[in-house]
Amino acid sequence: MTQIPLERKILSENDRVAGELRARFAAHGILCLNLVSSPGAGKTSLLERTLEAFAPSQRVAVLTGDIQTDNDAVRLARFGFPARQITTGGTCHLDARMIEKAISDWNLEDLDVLLIENVGNLVCPSSYDLGEAAKIVVLSVTEGEDKPLKYPAMFFRSELLILNKIDLLPYVPFSIVQARENAQKVHPGMEIIEISCLTGEGLPNWQGWLENRIASTLRITIAT
């Protein structure tokens, strides 16, 4: 009997493709963000509010993952930016190959920002690197403040937590303080922004975060 040490990641093939995507995004100065959340937390609504605030001259594109439908791409295409649906046909997450395929006929020279809306799921998308600069997790106040503790992988791997639907706080037993504490337990130092896609409250903070990231991505590209 022989024991053969392997000592490599189970998802090394996905990571390899994601690494290639990341290098291509860096070479073209593209900021790629991977939005994750449970179903119904408001990823598509956040993207709608984000796209409508961009000037038409902004070079933005969206990929949106769904198990069955193209409803989200239809919603997002209304803003005039390229929006493409990735229908996974049952798979509960996007992987790097799906991204590679979805952008294969896009000219990356024409892009500065690529926003990816993952499949609504707080478990699987945490394991799959898509070549993004950052994962952003959206948590809505109707879900319960213990989500970071129940799904630590997702909150640990996300750089920013967006607490959505804060307009509903008067009507639901959700403690923003507790949610923030739980997120910090899982991911010390995690950035947190509170928003309501319905009323627009807090959206300038998110837009400020995004503008900073776009500017620093461009600076790094110019410098290298």
Partner: protein, 125 residues
């Protein structure tokens, strides 16, 4: 029907088990005349994976295949941090990331998100 529902609950583990098997089949092709008896994987507490569900999916995927007799050995890895003040390295229990020795709140993540193929045990056919 029961097993189908269990699959739906364990979609993540299903995908990971498939990736483990892909990697194993690649290794087997590299070593003609040998067969796999055991696969060792390492799963961190922060990997977001349920070991029981992974075992279940692994069994379901290997059933009635050439890998049916292969044993899946899962090693759990806890979350570990290092204290920024006293350099103590410790296991994080119940999300308590402060240093248990000196009380310092600022501690750095060391490990615990592993999703790794550790080893294969192979024997001559």
């Amino acid at each position: 029907m029961t097993s189908f529902l269990a699959f739906v609950d364990a979609m993540h583990e299903f995908a990971i088990a498939s990736s483990v098997l892909d990697a194993v089949r690649t290794e087997v092709r590299l070593r003609p005349g040998m067969r796999v008896s055991k696969i060792g994987v390492r799963i961190g507490d922060l990997a977001g994976l349920d070991p029981d569900a992974l075992s279940f999916c692994f069994e379901a995927l290997t059933k009635e295949t050439d890998l049916e007799s292969v044993v899946l050995e899962i090693e759990r890895k806890p979350r570990r941090h290092r204290c920024s003040r006293c350099a103590n390295e410790f296991v994080v229990v119940n999300y308590e990331t402060s240093c248990p020795d000196c009380g310092e709140e600022s501690t750095a993540f060391l490990s615990g998100d592993e999703l790794q193929l550790a080893f294969l045990e192979m024997e001559d056919i």
